[in-house]
């Protein structure tokens, strides 16, 4: 017997043929095609047979063979649509509760969807408006010691050397940004002071060849070549000089250096990380900071804010450049234990790479997008739940329509149309809501998103897509169920659960909704606890009632000491210390030290905190061994912390006393006189660093003032008064230490706010869905409840029947959510070096909370049915 023959003509075309062919003659023609195909394989091989087959299929595509179009083609859709709209509207108006729940759920989740979309889009568009943005790179540094640290800045001479030594960079530009710059304008006899948080950038002219930041006045080529020249943005020019012509005007930086304005930049768009508004010529840097501008000394270290951008030649790969850059390390830092590796970071990565200070990681954007889709999905699920429950009421209408000749597709589209109406109402509400809450959301989450509905084509597209997708997702299943009704059963009476079907589908939907919201709730509880832990734990120093005041100006140490004495005399001031910064602070001076007269540097980074003898008492730091520093105006003695002791390999703090430390490239050389107990010098994200405290007066840039809270209101103005007398040209600035420490957790705070909002919304939507399902089930069981009541059941028993059912769903949801939540939050906690344990209580609260909310939702409907007169329930037949 011949083996069964299975021809294998091109599948795509066979499918195409099957799709169009008239089913009456399909099998005959298919047979012919196969027969011809096989014959041709024998004659001329498979390839030719395939080609002939394709030609045949294409030639068969002609009238007479193509399946006839269906008869129910609608010639005039308009009237039908109008009727659908009318019927749909009446239906919605009649079932106000149902409509409200649906619209509320949809609108809420769509609002989130729109806001998240705008937010994500805003972040993805960062710095995408430069020509050749694919070739623009920022040179960044990896610092390899006992661990790897990442800096977005480079040694200052690197850019210049790279430009002169290699031809890889078409353009290379160095930019040094001094943040929190003090700008003054000397107007006749008055001095106007400004603090520019985004700072002033010393910029090489090529910067404006790399980036698309056009000048509206002045010449790009020459504006920034001469020393003491600057270009500013329109906004800055307006702020400083109002309506006067800004070109040729003068302003001062830190009251030291004067700049003449030679050009005006067009205001930057929102979506850029280049934030400075004042660009001074790089040639001026030498008079601002000699070390930074020096051609070889600058290799010794990295100053934050010293950036280098390059536009690579086409065809040059970043790895090629990275490999030549390593030569600089050998040449200029041959002995340093702090091994630099220079990397090229693509411009597109700048906004997202957290290592180098990126604003937000792509992962976070993804998480947001996923949460947004989850919320939309739960709202759709709800809609499906409610609509199928509602379908009972529509069965008569469907029956009548079917009897009068409606076909299934027509009914299907009718219900899709109704869904589209609800969605449209939802989306309009969502747009209004989103536009209304955007300012609050920006405020709450520290974002700067704007919604321009009329100019933002992408947003309009998104909204339309959202409308269509949600309509189809939410409407598809209910429409299918409704259109499927048999006219006879539909007209005879209530279709039962069986005909409606899918009760399990709805259970699954409820379970998934609750699983999502419980994951969010678990996340919320863990974050709240970790934040509380970070805020309320003992940091090893006193952070209450301490005000940090900027020292201001370049006053010499004597002036600062004098002011310190004056501040200490003010009633309400307990203690004052002159220092570089608070024990825990973002301000941090890293150093490579040598220990005990060794000629080799140690392999870890030491954070040097310059402070006077009052530092320990002001912050309540405790000594583990030795004594405090004695007052001095030069580096005579040093304190270290316990982490440093163990990193140096010493057994006990006492062993460190009397040993010498050499730091700051040899300029500091002093014995250790004491060891302070460890305190957190950074956020809980980071380990405690090795710390060295010494009286290096050049670095005294702040007064730490411990205030007696009872007199706080009078003390601060008094301090400001004496301060202003000493520093007439500067701006008095202060922060409360506990607030600036809270700032360490800004990201987490934002995340907490987000997750709180989302869990609330998801629980709310989940409850709407549950409410819908319960009303459906109660409706089904009206008779059962009646019979049970007659047989002596009380309300609690009836409640119990329903509670059992829904508690089971919530518990199943919890079984799914708990491991997922545990895993997610465990991963999240890895961000912290000091973290809480995931307690079983967090999970207990999550399940307890969801159960309570779910059962309350259930009870409302059930009690209503349970207290009803059983006679009424049983009479209806």
């Amino acid at each position: 017997m011949k083996p069964k023959y299975t021809p294998s003509p091109p599948a795509l075309f066979l499918r195409f043929f099957r799709a169009y062919c008239n089913p009456d003659i399909q099998s005959y023609i298919e047979g012919d095609l196969f027969e011809m195909y096989e014959r041709r394989i024998k004659q001329s091989g498979k390839r030719k047979a395939d080609i002939r087959f394709i030609i045949d299929v294409l030639l068969l595509f002609r009238p007479g063979i193509i399946r006839p179009t269906r008869i129910t083609i609608n010639v005039n859709n308009y009237n039908m649509l109008r009727s659908y709209a009318k019927i749909g509207w009446r239906n919605l108006a009649r079932n106000k509760a149902y409509t409200t729940i649906n619209v509320a759920g949809l609108a809420l989740s769509m609002t989130c969807g729109i806001l998240i979309f705008t937010f994500v889009k805003h972040h993805l568009s960062f710095d995408n408006f430069h020509q050749n943005s694919g070739r623009i790179y920022r040179i960044v540094t990896e610092l390899h010691r006992d661990g790897i640290a990442y800096r977005s800045s480079v040694p200052s001479p690197l850019g210049g050397a790279f430009r002169n030594d290699y031809t890889f960079g078409e353009k290379v530009a160095r930019v040094y940004t001094e943040r929190d710059a003090l700008i003054t304008i000397k107007d006749k006899n008055e001095t106007i002071k400004f603090k520019e948080a985004d700072g002033l950038a010393f910029t090489e002219p090529e910067f404006f060849d790399i980036f698309n930041l056009p000048l509206i006045q002045g010449n790009k080529k020459t504006a920034l070549t001469a020393p003491n020249t600057a270009v500013v943005t329109e906004a800055i020019a307006k702020k400083y000089f109002g309506s006067e012509d800004p070109i040729g005007q003068t302003f001062w930086l830190s009251n030291k250096i004067a700049f003449t304005i030679t050009g005006i930049l067009k205001n930057f768009p929102q979506n850029t990380d280049l934030r400075a508004g004042i660009f001074a010529s790089y040639a001026t840097l030498i008079s601002y900071d000699r070390w930074l501008a020096h051609d070889t000394d600058g290799w010794g270290g990295i100053r934050d804010g010293m950036r280098c951008y390059t536009l690579l030649q086409p065809n040059v790969s970043p790895t090629e450049v990275e490999s030549v850059l390593s030569a600089y390390v050998k040449k200029y830092r041959p002995t340093s234990k702090n091994v630099h590796q220079y990397k090229l970071q693509p411009l597109a990565d700048v906004h997202f790479n957290a290592h180098y200070g990126g604003a937000i990681s792509k992962q976070k954007l993804w998480i947001l997008a996923v949460i947004g889709s989850f919320l939309l999905a739960t709202a759709c699920v709800n809609f499906i739940n409610l609509a199928t429950a509602q379908a009972l009421k529509r069965s008569k209408e469907v029956g009548v329509r079917k009897v009068l000749g409606s076909v299934r597709t027509q009914l299907f589209w009718q219900f899709i149309f109704e869904t589209a109406i609800i969605c449209a109402i939802g989306i309009v509400t969502a747009i209004i809501l989103a536009a209304a809450i955007v300012p609050y959301a920006n405020n709450l989450f520290n974002t700067d998103v704007s919604i321009n509905l009329f100019s933002d084509r992408l947003l309009i597209g998104f909204i339309l897509a959202l409308w269509i997708v949600v309509t189809l997702l939410a409407g598809y299943y209910p429409a299918l169920v409704l259109a499927k009704f048999q006219p006879v059963t539909a007209l005879k009476g209530k279709p039962t659960q069986q005909t409606l079907g899918g009760f399990n589908t709805r259970r699954t939907l409820i379970v998934s909704q609750f699983a999502i919201s419980q994951v969010l709730v678990i996340g919320m509880i863990v974050i709240i606890n970790q934040m509380q832990y970070a805020r309320e734990s003992d940091l090893g120093f006193d952070k209450e009632a301490i005000v940090m005041i900027g020292a201001g100006g370049d006053g010499n140490i004597n002036g600062k000491e004098a002011l310190k004495t004056e501040i200490a005399r003010i009633p309400g001031v307990d203690k004052v210390s002159l220092c570089f910064g608070a024990p825990a602070s973002d301000n941090d001076w890293g150093n490579s030290i040598r220990f005990d007269n060794s000629s080799e540097e140690v392999n870890f980074r030491t954070s040097i905190k310059s402070a006077d003898a009052d530092y320990l008492s002001t912050f309540g730091l405790e000594l583990a061994a030795g004594k405090n520093l004695s007052p001095s105006d030069s580096v005579r003695e040093m304190l270290i912390n316990e982490v440093m002791v163990s990193k140096l390999g010493l057994k006990s703090p006492e062993d460190a006393i009397g040993k010498y430390i050499t730091a700051d490239g040899g300029s500091m050389h002093a014995p250790i006189v004491g060891v302070v107990k460890d305190f957190h010098d950074k956020s809980f994200h980071e380990e405690i660093s090795p710390i060295l405290i010494t009286t290096f007066t050049e670095d005294y840039i702040a007064y730490a003032v411990k205030i007696n809270m009872a007199n706080a209101t009078s003390a601060l103005p008094a301090i400001e008064k004496v301060w202003a007398q000493q520093n007439p040209d500067n701006i008095f600035e202060y922060t409360f230490l506990d607030e600036s420490i809270a700032q360490f957790y800004e990201d987490e705070d934002t995340m907490l706010k987000l997750i709180k909002t989302f869990s609330f919304i998801s629980i709310f939507i989940g409850c709407l869905g549950l409410y819908g399902l319960v009303s459906f089930v109660v409706n089904q069981k009206t008779k059962e409840i009646g019979i049970r009541k007659i047989l002596g059941c009380n309300i609690v028993d009836i409640l119990w029947i329903f509670w059992k059912e829904f508690a089971r769903l919530v518990i199943i949801a919890f079984i799914i959510a708990a491991p997922l939540g545990w895993w997610l939050m465990h991963t999240w906690l890895q961000n912290f070096k000091f973290q809480i344990h995931l307690s079983i209580w967090f999970f207990a609260i999550a399940i307890g909370g969801s159960l309570t909310i779910a059962l309350l939702t259930v009870s409302y409907q059930v009690i209503k049915a349970a207290v009803a007169d059983p006679v009424k329930a049983l009479r209806i037949e």
Binding site: K4, S27, L60
Partner: protein
């Protein structure tokens, strides 16, 4: 008066079916036309013609056996209906009538050219 409408290709097809007698199905018809008339016939054209002839009532069809080389698909055999036969005859008669009306000289003159 369009009593028996029969297009050129349709005529060839129906004649071929007549030749093949009881063995007429699409592939055999196609082969027969191709071998006799030395012209290629596309499957599409043939099936359209067959369907049109069937719609006009000149042909009737029945399913035949399913064979292995057709992957189990049946053959559709065609035979000519009485109406079909009338139409064929009508077509032939009208041609003959026209032929006989042509003056003999036409061909001679052409030959002389």
């Amino acid at each position: 008066m369009k009593k028996y409408q029969l297009g050129e290709f349709e005529e060839i097809v129906i004649l071929t079916i007549a030749i093949l007698n009881n063995d007429a199905y699409s592939v055999s018809i196609k082969d027969e036309i191709e071998s006799r008339l030395k012209r290629t016939v596309s499957m599409g054209a043939l099936h359209t013609a067959l369907k049109r002839l069937e719609d006009k009532g000149y042909l009737k069809s029945h399913s035949g056996e399913a064979t292995a080389e057709r992957a189990g698909r049946p053959k559709q055999y065609f035979e000519i209906t009485a109406l079909g036969k009338k139409a064929m005859r009508y077509a032939k008669e009208t041609r003959d009538e026209l032929w006989s009306a042509i003056p003999k000289t036409i061909f001679q003159i052409n030959l002389a050219d």
